[in-house]
């Protein structure tokens, strides 16, 4: 798709464990996706929640392929990974 921006939002939610951010960041780096901003917190003392803004302009993979690789990187952990174009959030949350 011809687009000026190639920003994606990665969301990771689930049981907290050591090394989640490291694994996701490594996988993104391997796909040549640049992290722009990252928020991470532990909700209610145990639920891991991370939202991450990244640029995929130099990555030739499709969104489902990126999602599959990220899921692979945290395989075995009880985590839900979603990847969406940032335009979805721009549309839904900004007037």
């Amino acid at each position: 798709m011809e687009k000026k921006k190639k920003h994606i939002i990665v969301t990771v939610i689930g049981r907290d464990e050591v090394g989640i951010v490291a694994r996701i960041a490594t996988s993104l780096a391997g796909q040549n996706i640049n992290i722009i901003d990252i928020n991470q917190t532990i909700l209610g003392g145990e639920l891991f929640a991370m939202t991450l803004l990244a640029d995929r302009v130099n990555c030739s993979l499709s969104l489902p392929e990126i999602t599959a690789r990220l899921k692979e990187s945290v395989e075995g952990m009880a985590l839900q990974v979603t990847v969406q174009d940032s335009e979805v959030f721009q549309y839904m949350h900004r007037v």
Binding site: M1, L53, S62, L63, T82, Q84, S86, F89, Q90
Partner: protein, 454 residues
């Protein structure tokens, strides 16, 4: 960050848990250049046009869904009413063209095609009669082609001969698809004041005022509205409830707007309209009836249902209109019985009756939708039920519709099951009080007054 974690998690939750999705991307295709008195040539032209215009519909729908991470459930095509395309008064010609349409749809992998349509609100031409004569056969033998007939409008009144004729078509269609609970009737909608840019089936057709081809998008987010109202809690007053619905509708609509623009861009056609209707599915949580329950009704059909539905429908429009400049189609709340888990439960419990549904349709789109009645219901009674619903649309200057299934061999207490988005419906009781003489009078109910409207 550009967005707060709360905003991001809200959207992710809407999609993953509340089943926010794009119900349909419908490609409207004009067939006005496919007319030909030779049925074989007409069928060939229609088929060629559909295949050419929608060649990339499936591929691009998948691409856009993947690219944005927004599920798109159905891809559909709506066509110019076939009564304006096949210029011969021969049922066999309509059957032949309909077969070609259905085959083209199968080849393209689309879910439904709409446009087996005639407009007879004021009277029928010989061509309309041929289209209608072939209708039971077409509905029984094609898989995806959906039919609609316009029986009334605010400006023309109600064609009672048409209501009676269509009640016979419904009965015959049910009989011809009796082995599948009369599923043919689930693909047939009768209208008062239809819109010409509706993306939803079975009533979609692409009107004469439309362009060569356009993208029509329908969103589905009743679960997201319900979740927002649950968070609001039972203490909030109705003004706050309306405000919450508006805000949620805005977000849902924006998702549809994004997909509509992307699809139009990908296919190189114009973005026609975005339909705001909250379309339910039988899936748990994807229910308009459950929104009414969250608003404080024990079940849809309870006293207060009409008021609650009016508020919901109005708030959805107010929120949605701000979110998109391309709002069109039906744009209301749908309350189909078989396609909504909460409506099914209410019908099974006897909480909702055809009479209460009829009242509710005066404040929502689109009408008596996906209602199963006993197979023994007479043609006259069916015609009278249809006429009542047409009257509500006519007098209130709005779209109303009837999609009713006289389930062959079934009675109150039984249920019919169609599977998929069409769901299952308990057979509902119809009043046994006769309207036979009224219906048999035939003729036309004159158009209602547009002034002095109290």
């Amino acid at each position: 960050m550009k967005f707060s974690s709360e905003e991001i998690l809200e959207t992710v939750g809407m999609i993953a848990e509340d089943k926010l999705d794009i119900r349909t991307v419908t490609l409207g295709v004009s067939l006005l250049d496919c007319s030909d008195p030779d049925p074989a040539a007409c069928a060939r032209k229609v088929r060629r046009k559909i295949l050419a215009k929608a060649a990339k519909l499936s591929e691009k729908t998948r691409f856009v869904a993947d690219e944005y991470g927004l599920p798109i459930i159905n891809k559909r095509i709506s066509l110019t009413p076939l009564s304006l395309v096949v210029p011969v008064a021969d049922p066999a010609a309509f059957a032949e063209v309909a077969r070609a349409v259905d085959e083209a749809g199968a080849e393209l992998g689309v879910d439904f095609i709409g446009g087996y349509t005639a407009m007879i609100q004021k009277g029928e031409t010989a061509i309309d009669r041929a289209l209608i004569a072939a209708m039971p056969g077409v509905l029984a033998t094609t898989g995806r082609f959906c039919a609609s007939v316009v029986l009334a409008s605010t400006r023309a009144g109600i064609n009672m001969d048409g209501c009676y004729a269509m009640s016979r078509v419904i009965k015959e269609t049910a009989a011809r698809t009796a082995d599948r609970d009369g599923i043919g009737c689930a693909k047939l909608v009768l209208f008062a004041n239809p819109v010409e840019d509706n993306p939803f089936m079975a009533g979609a057709f692409f009107g004469t005022g439309e362009s060569e081809s356009a993208i029509l998008v329908g969103v589905s987010g009743p679960g997201a509205v319900r979740r927002a109202l649950q968070k609001l809690g039972p203490e909030a007053d109705l003004g706050q409830v309306a405000e919450t619905i508006k805000k949620t509708a805005f977000k849902i609509t924006r998702a549809g707007e994004l997909v509509g623009r992307a699809m139009a861009d990908q296919l190189g056609v114009s973005f026609g309209i975005l339909d705001l209707s909250l379309a339910p599915t039988p899936a748990e949580g994807d229910s308009v009836g459950q929104i009414l329950e969250t608003m404080g009704l024990a079940m849809p059909g309870a006293p207060g249902s009409t008021a609650a539905l009016m508020m919901l429908n109005d708030a959805v429009k107010k929120g949605g209109l701000f979110a998109s400049s391309s709002v069109g189609g039906l744009s209301g709340a749908f309350i189909p019985v078989s396609e909504d888990a909460s409506m099914i439960a209410a019908a099974e419990a006897g909480a909702i009756t055809i009479e209460k549904l009829e009242a509710m349709t005066s404040v929502c789109s689109v009408g008596l939708d996906m209602i199963a009645v006993p197979g023994t219901t007479s043609e006259e009674t069916l015609a009278a039920v249809i006429a009542d619903e047409m009257a509500i649309g006519c007098a209130n200057n709005k779209t109303t519709a009837v999609r009713i299934i006289p389930a062959p061999g079934k009675d109150v207490g039984d249920s019919v099951s169609f599977g998929g988005l069409l769901g299952k419906a308990p057979v509902m009781a119809v009043s046994g009080i006769s309207a036979d003489i009224f219906v048999r009078r035939g003729g036309r109910i004159p158009a209602p007054l547009q002034a002095l409207t109290n």
